[in-house]
Amino acid sequence: MPGTAPEAAPSWALELRDVAKSFGAVVALRSGSLAVAPGSIHALVGENGAGKSTLVKIVAGVHRRDSGVVRLHGNDVDFGSTAESKSAGVAVIYQEPTLFPDLSVTENIFMGRQPVGRSRRIDRAAMYAEATGLFQRLGVAIDPRRPARGLSIADQQIIEIAKAISLDASVLVMDEPTAALSGVEVDRLFAVARSLRDEGRALVFISHRFDEVFALCDTVTVMRDGEYVSTDAVAETSVEQIVSRMVGREVAELFPKTPAEIGDVVLDVAGLSSTGTFHDISFNVRAGEIVGLAGLVGAGRSEIARAVFGVDGYDAGTVHLGGVAVPPQKPRAAIKAGMAFVPEDRRKQGLVTESSVARNVAGVIRGRLTHAGLLTSADENRAAGPWAGRLEVKTSALDMTATTMSGGNQQKVVLAKWLSTEPQLLIIDEPTRGIDVGTKAEVHRLLSDLAGEGLAILMISSELPEVLGMADRVIVVCEGRITAELSRADATPETVMHAATASVSHAVPASTQEVTA
């Protein structure tokens, strides 16, 4: 089944065939195929980075495809802008809609195409009448005259949908619309979606929650690694089948974690909570151990790491490093205690790209390099050179800036910076995001070596094979809570994915439940 595209049919509302898109050397979408019939709600599922968002952006006209076919009602289309896709009848509703907060609900719906009456003045009465009609049709109670500020995300989505209907969109794409909604709001959204389906529109529904996919959709397409995998009628498939297709790939031997001697507890986090972000997070990391923090994007993993390191605050809980309490919101104190933190966003948080390699690498330890309080470039170069060399940073000289470096090379600079502090714990968020395959393997080997030397490593990764290959223990986070803690033996793509989509936790296999219980 994998690899075969859906059969051609003349009646598809939206049809994509072998659509590919690369950003430089990074292939975001290899061959995306999707065929949505009118009067159908079609689910699109896949892991983080499977290419769903890229596919949606091509349909929306945000990105232009490199190759492949996109057809709308049988006609070839090539959208160069979102305006083109809109006028062709495609509407995309994002997870967090962007409305003009100070304008009224109605003005938001008619933004840029306000009805005008005589003497070219905006016909407000007509606008309000039409908005009221739209909301009645959708069966929702929103005052069309109130400002958009203060509306719930659910209501904002409804406004986007109303906008789409007023444009008479025949294809609606909803990109994870339920992620921020409560149960009642989800039910209302589903009712609206079903009524749109019954009007003959085609809907694409992207979600990580399988119960919603099964409750709402009639067809489901699975994507993996930028490729089309399968399309099935929802009635003829099961959660297990879809999960195995989403993750169904070999864990490559690209991730060579060598067994290391596991020592004492280095990091001990107890009861860490931050309102609205994560709740009651407790775990530990031992010397020589790599603990993987897995979960979907937005589950709160990075936020936990940032709180532990102290760049963000938290409401309750304690962090101990080597038995010593680490105060909250003091990165300096965390560094002193022996923590190192390689953040998610290299260019914004990891390093000062416009600063030199030497200054970046010596950035944390420079306080120790002074003579009588004075710091010279020579001091920094002497300290930074060997660490840059150990990590094999590719640069012609130590005073070159990191601006034009590749992602992998920048990551080496960040790692050199933190390893030079001789830490006891390394927290590393998305160690290989945006890094080419060769450097990826280098980073993995380095992490493995470091653990072998007795460093405790907490690794956050959205790439399942990376987590499964590298981690001695996997902690799965879903919606701000730890939903599973799996030993290396128990951690399989299926168990991790099930715990990461906790709303299907009833379907978690017995092995996982034993560990969590």
């Binding site: 950003f23 430089g24 050397a25 990074v26 975001a28 983080n48 980075g49 997870q95 010397a287 994007v297 937005g298 760049v311 990165p331 300096r332 022996g338 966003d345 260019r347 914004k348 948080q349 990891g350 390093l351 000062v352 790209t353 416009e354 600063s355 030497a358 200054r359 950035g363 944390v364 420079r366 306080g367 390099l369 002074t370 309080g373 004075l374 710091l375 470039s377 050179g385 060997p386 660490w387 840059a388 060399g389 150990r390 094999e392 012609s396 000289a397 130590l398 005073d399 070159m400 590749s406 992602g407 910076k417 390893l419 001789e422 830490p423 006891q424 995001r433 945006g434 470091l450 460093l455």
Partner: protein, 371 residues
Amino acid sequence: MSTSVLSRPEGSTRSYPAYSRPLWRRVLFTREFAVIALLVAVIFYSNNNVPNFDGPLTFYYLFLDIAPILLIALPMTLVIITGEIDLSVASVVGLSSVLVAQLHVEAGLSIPVAGLIAILVGAVCGAFNGFLVAYVGLPSLAVTIGTLALYRGIAVGLLGTKAVTDFPEKWTDLAKERIVEGHAYPMILIPFVVLAIAFVLLLHFSPFGRGVFEIGLNDEAAHFTGVNVQRTKFLLFVLAGAVSAFAGIYYTLRFGSARGDNATGLELQVIAAVLLGGVSIFGGRGAIHGVIAGVILIGVISSAMRLESYTVNKINIVIGTLLVLSVISTSFLGWAKDLWSRRGRGSGPSSSEKNGQHRQAVAADESTNER
């Protein structure tokens, strides 16, 4: 760190040269050097062409006049490098001037004691700015526009519209005295040189100074690296307040007159000179020696033109044009450098770098959109 688990690398596989360009290129191809070269050229030209420019009084009065700007430009450089700005400095000069007068004449304190208190008050004024900017998180432009009016208002309120002029001659003479009789250098240059050396060490040769640059380039990354962004900014505003107050004392004694409206508008002269000296208004770039050259350059141009009997308006036109040109030159130099490197290295590596950068940007965009 005795329990550290990682070995310091020894005999590593790769070593790097410290610098990518030879020393002369690193020295000559900088904005600071361009300003210094222009300053030398203007002095050379004026010596030969402007009557009386090479006279004994030109540089003496030049230094007397620009001393407050020279002093305040030092902390202002650091403030602007962090990406902030302090518009209240001239008001602190005025406030300090009034305080010295009131404490000396009304309260009968000696000049040094009155001056010390004025400097403390200046530091408190700076601390108030710094607190609002660094800890409350308000934009410095808005905060210091507010305190510009506030401190000036207090100064005028304390003294009214009158002027205090009865200062002991011993002190007013000291403000105008020369270091060595017969030379052009007034006494005020001694505290200035001491402060300048201190600020050079602080900005260019200390971990604190590295933090100042990092905050200006990328304050989030600085925060993630353990730089105390808030405390750094706070301290810089305190320094700006204290140095401005000191400049206020000098200003009072040099003119022998304390008024609430002393040094009105000085803040813009300071900022103009700092920017002319090669400091980026967006933060992250600049050097003290360039700023000092920038201040002196503006001073030299004005006194040369004054000797040629040009009006103040014409002097302002020239200096304004110079400033605009210096701002334009930054982008022009960037463009020229880009062109140079493309021609020098051929299209291959440069274009692949560009791609890499683009890919990164797109990848970052992707990852943020993924949520």
